[in-house]
C-alpha cells in the first residue's frame, strides 16, 4: 500500500498494520476530514446566512451591521452566472447611459498618441532640471582650456605671469587679483610681451618697460584690474586707449605674428624675448602662491602641494610644467628596444606589447581556424 493511500484510509485502525505503516496521531488529525461546524468558516462571506454574517450581526446587535457588504473578493463563479441571467436592477440601467454619453463626448477629439512628441507634459515644473540653463549652471574653467606642454607656450605663460605679478607688486595691489582676467586682449598682451624682466631679485623693481607709454598703459590697466566692480568698464577704456596708441606706433612692434593666428594660444607668439624671468625667486609665500596660481591658470598645469613646496624659483616651476621634475617613467620595453646589444642578436625579439595567447595562436596558424569556426557558428 502506498503511503499516500495509507494516509487517506484513516478510518482503519492503525493497529492492524505493521510498524512500517504507522502514522502519528498529529498527522492523522491533520489529514482527517474537518467536522461540519468547522467547515462553515470556509464558506463564502457574502452568503447572507453564513456563519460570519450571523456572528457579525450578533456582535453589532443589529440586523444591518456596518462594514462592507463583501470584503472578501466579490461573488463566486456560480453566483455571477446566476446574476447575469437575472434582469439588472432599474437604477443601474438608468445611470449607465449618462456615463456613456459623457465618454462619447470626450472621445470625439481623442486621438491616440503614437509617440511622446507634442504630448502635454504632466507634473510640476518647479524642479531644477525643468528650468532653462541659467548663468550659474554653465561651467567655466579657471584655467585655460588647452594644457600647454611645449617649451614656447610655457615660457610665454611664465613670462606673462611674472610681468603681471611684478606690475601688481609695483602698483601695490592684491597679487591674486590678476587671475580675474584669464586672457588679455591682444594689444595688452603685446605690451606684456614687450616687457623685460631684470633678474635683480626683487619683484617690485624687476620689470623693465620698452617705453613710457607702455608703462603708463599697463599701470592704468592693472589699476583697474585690482578694483573689482569697475573692471569691465575699465577694460574697455583701456582697450580704446591702447588701440589709439597702437595705431600710432604700429611699426614699432618687431615680430608681430600673422593676423590669422587670433585663435592660437598667446596670439601666435612662439617664444619669449628674454629669459630673465626664470631667475626670479619664489621665496615669499604670498608671491609664490599668486605666481603659481596665475601660471597654473595660463598654462593649465596643476601644482600639487609637495611640488609647490619644492619650487623656489620661476625656473623650477617652468621645469615642472615641462615635465622635467618628475618625468613619466620609461617602460622597460623602451629601454630594451634601445639596447644595441640586444637588437643585434637575431634570436631575440623585443615587443612593446605583452604577447598574449592570441599572438601565439596567430603565429602558430591556429587563429584563422578559430575565427573560421566562430564565423561558421555565427559568433563573429
Amino acid at each position: 500500500m502506498r503511503p499516500s493511500l495509507r494516509l487517506l484510509n484513516l478510518e482503519v485502525p492503525s493497529l492492524q498494520g505493521s510498524r512500517a505503516l504507522y502514522v502519528c496521531s498529529g498527522c492523522r488529525q491533520e489529514a482527517r476530514p474537518r467536522p461540519i461546524a468547522a467547515r462553515q468558516f470556509l464558506r463564502h462571506a457574502s452568503n447572507a446566512d453564513s456563519l460570519s454574517e450571523r456572528v457579525r450581526r450578533k456582535i453589532w446587535g443589529t440586523d444591518n451591521p456596518p462594514g462592507e457588504k463583501d470584503p472578501y473578493g466579490g461573488q463566486g463563479v456560480l453566483e455571477r452566472k446566476f446574476s447575469k441571467q437575472q434582469p439588472p436592477k432599474q437604477e443601474e440601467v438608468a445611470e449607465q447611459p449618462e456615463e456613456v454619453e459623457d465618454l462619447t463626448l470626450t472621445d470625439a477629439s481623442y486621438e491616440p498618441a503614437t509617440t511622446w512628441a507634442g504630448l502635454e507634459r504632466v507634473g510640476h515644473l518647479n524642479r531644477w532640471n525643468d528650468y532653462p540653463r541659467s548663468e550659474a549652471d554653465t561651467y567655466e574653467s579657471f584655467a585655460v582650456k588647452t594644457k600647454h606642454n611645449q617649451k614656447g607656450p610655457l615660457s610665454l605663460a611664465a613670462h606673462q605671469a611674472a610681468v603681471e605679478i611684478c606690475l601688481m607688486h609695483a602698483l601695490n595691489k592684491p597679487l591674486v587679483s590678476v587671475c580675474d582676467v584669464t586672457e588679455h586682449e591682444k594689444p595688452i598682451f603685446d605690451m606684456i610681451y614687450e616687457c623685460k624682466i631684470q633678474p635683480n631679485g626683487e619683484w617690485s623693481k624687476a620689470l623693465e618697460y620698452p617705453n613710457k607709454r607702455t608703462q603708463d598703459t599697463l599701470a592704468y590697466i592693472f589699476e583697474q584690474i585690482g578694483a573689482q566692480p569697475a573692471a569691465p568698464a575699465a577694460e574697455e577704456t583701456a582697450e580704446d586707449l591702447v588701440e589709439a596708441s597702437e595705431l600710432e606706433e604700429n611699426g614699432e612692434i618687431a615680430d608681430e605674428p600673422a593676423s590669422d593666428s587670433q585663435d592660437a594660444p598667446f596670439f601666435g607668439y612662439q617664444d619669449v624675448q628674454d629669459e630673465g624671468f626664470l631667475s626670479l625667486p619664489l621665496t615669499d609665500a604670498v608671491t609664490k602662491f599668486a605666481y603659481l596660481k596665475r601660471f597654473s591658470q595660463l598654462s593649465g598645469h596643476y601644482f600639487p602641494d609637495p611640488i609647490m613646496q619644492q619650487i623656489s624659483t620661476v625656473k623650477q616651476a617652468v621645469a615642472y610644467a615641462q615635465g622635467e621634475l618628475n618625468k613619466k617613467p620609461k617602460k622597460l620595453a623602451e629601454y630594451l628596444a634601445e639596447d644595441q646589444r640586444l637588437l643585434s642578436l637575431p634570436n631575440v625579439k623585443i615587443f612593446d606589447k605583452r604577447r598574449t595567447t592570441l599572438h601565439r595562436d596567430d603565429e602558430m596558424g591556429r587563429k584563422k581556424i578559430i575565427e573560421a569556426a566562430l564565423r561558421a557558428r555565427g559568433l563573429l
Binding site: P346, N347, V348, K349, E363, M364, G365, K367
Partner: protein, 407 residues
C-alpha cells in the same frame, strides 16, 4: 669540379632567376622512384617527359602583412624577422653559410605549400639520398659481414623516419597547428592528417614487386634489395611523370603525419647543408648528429637455429666442423646449475656461453660465435665517399664479406 656540382644542384633550390635551365625539374622525376633503384642521373631522353611547368615568379612580391593570410607559407623576407629560426640555426650549430631563408624553406612541407619553389621537397630528395648513402657505406664498411636483415634494421635505426622525427623533436622543432602565410617561419609547417586517418596501412599495394598479391609467397632478402626501400620495407612504385599532376592533386587533399613531416625536414636540412656549406660540412653534420647516436648492433640479431647456421658457416669458410665442449660446470644436480660451453673449430675456440642447461649454454655459445663472426670490424675504416675529398690517399678496396649463410 666540386664547385660545379654545387652550382648544378643549387639551381633547384635557389631562385629561378639564378637558374641556368629547366633541367633540374628532374626533381619531380626523382622524388618518387620510377625505377627499382633511385637513379641520381636520369637519362637525357626523359627530359621531354617532364611536364612543362609554368615559370612561377621566383620571389613573391612583398605584400603587406594583412595579405599574408592568403599565402600558403610565410614569405621569404619573414625568415629574417623570426627569432625561432635564428635560435634553431644557432642551436644546431649550422654553418653560417646556410642562410636563414633556406632553413625556413626546409621547414615547409609539400603538404603546406605545393609550390616546388617554396617547399622542401627538392632539398629532402637530396638530403635523403645523402643520408642513405653515408649511412649505408658506413655500415657496410664498418661491419663488412653483417647479414642484410641487420643492415636493414641498422639503416632504419640510424636514418629511419622514427629516428629522424625524434631528432627533430630533440632539436626543439615545433610544428604549427595549420600552415599559412602568417605563421612564424621557425615552425615546422605541414598539413595534418584528418582525424581518424590511417597512418600506417598494413598492406602496401602498388609496388614494383611481381606477384605482390601472393602474400604467402616467400620474399627473399635479396629481392628486398631490389624491390623494397633502404629499410627493406615495401614501397610504392614510382609513377611516370605524365601522371604526376593527378597524383599530386590527389595527395594535396590529404595531410601528412607529424613523423613524416619531421623526417622530411631533417632530410631537407641535410640537403640544405650540403648545398650551401659543401660536402665537408655535410659530412660533419652527418657525423655529429647521426653517427654520434649510439646503436648497439649486436642487439639487432635474431637467430632461430644458431648451431645449424654455425655449422653451415664453418663449412662455407672451410673451417673444421664446430664442436661444443663443456669448459666448466657447477651444481649439475642442484636447483641452479651453470654450464659454460665453448664452441671449438679444431683447436680454435669460436665462442663460449653460459647457461642453466647444456642446451642453453650451447645455444648461447653458438650465438656468441656467430656474432663474433658477423660483427667483425676492420681497423681504420675508410668509406668510399672519403675519396671525394681533395688530396685523399689512394683508395684501397675495403673488405666486404659474402654476408650471411643461406640455408
Amino acid at each position: 669540379m666540386k664547385r660545379l656540382q654545387l652550382q648544378r644542384w643549387s639551381g633547384s633550390v635557389l631562385s629561378a632567376q639564378a637558374r641556368t635551365g629547366g633541367r633540374l625539374q628532374q626533381r619531380l622525376y626523382t622524388a618518387i622512384r620510377h625505377q627499382s633503384t633511385a637513379s641520381p642521373a636520369a637519362p637525357a631522353g626523359h627530359d621531354q617527359l617532364i611536364r612543362e611547368q609554368p615559370q612561377a615568379p621566383s620571389i613573391r612580391p612583398s605584400r603587406p602583412s594583412q595579405s599574408r593570410y592568403n599565402l600558403p607559407s610565410p614569405p621569404v623576407e619573414a625568415a629574417r624577422e623570426s627569432a625561432k629560426l635564428a635560435s634553431l640555426h644557432a642551436r644546431l650549430y649550422l654553418p653560417s653559410r646556410l642562410p636563414l631563408e633556406t632553413l625556413a624553406r626546409s621547414l615547409v612541407d609539400a603538404s603546406a605549400d605545393p609550390d616546388p619553389n617554396f617547399n622542401n621537397e627538392s632539398l629532402a630528395t637530396l638530403g635523403h639520398d645523402l643520408l642513405t648513402q653515408y649511412t649505408s657505406e658506413y655500415l657496410v664498411c664498418t661491419y663488412p659481414r653483417l647479414p642484410l636483415t641487420v643492415v636493414f634494421a641498422a639503416m632504419y635505426a640510424y636514418v629511419g623516419p622514427k629516428t629522424l622525427a625524434a631528432m627533430a623533436k630533440e632539436w626543439g622543432v615545433e610544428s604549427v597547428a595549420a600552415p599559412g602565410g602568417e605563421v612564424d617561419p621557425g615552425y615546422l609547417q605541414f598539413r595534418r592528417l584528418p582525424p581518424g586517418a590511417e597512418v600506417n596501412p598494413e598492406l602496401i599495394t602498388g609496388t614494383e614487386r611481381p606477384h605482390e598479391e601472393e602474400t604467402h609467397w616467400r620474399k627473399s632478402v635479396t629481392s628486398r634489395v631490389v624491390y623494397d626501400n633502404e629499410y627493406g620495407d615495401p614501397v610504392k612504385a614510382g609513377v611516370p611523370p605524365s601522371e604526376l599532376p593527378e597524383r599530386e592533386a590527389k595527395n594535396n587533399n590529404l595531410g601528412v603525419s607529424h613523423e613524416q613531416a619531421s623526417s622530411t625536414f631533417v632530410h631537407a636540412l641535410m640537403g640544405a647543408v650540403y648545398l650551401h656549406a659543401g660536402r665537408p660540412a655535410a659530412k660533419r653534420f652527418f657525423e655529429q648528429h647521426f653517427l654520434s647516436r649510439h646503436l648497439n648492433i649486436s642487439d639487432l640479431f635474431n637467430f632461430s637455429s644458431p648451431a645449424r647456421d654455425l655449422a653451415r658457416l664453418c663449412a662455407r669458410e672451410n673451417f673444421d666442423a664446430p664442436v661444443a665442449r663443456i669448459i666448466s660446470e657447477t651444481g649439475r644436480k642442484s636447483r641452479s646449475p651453470v654450464f659454460v660451453v665453448g664452441i671449438y673449430s679444431g683447436a680454435d675456440k669460436l665462442g663460449e656461453g653460459a647457461g642453466a642447461s647444456l642446451l642453453e649454454a650451447r645455444f648461447r655459445a653458438c650465438v656468441a660465435s656467430l656474432k663474433g663472426w658477423y660483427l667483425y670490424s676492420p681497423l681504420n675504416v675508410r668509406v668510399p665517399s672519403s675519396m671525394e675529398e681533395e688530396g685523399a690517399a689512394p683508395w684501397k678496396p675495403v673488405h666486404v664479406d659474402l654476408g650471411e649463410v643461406i640455408i
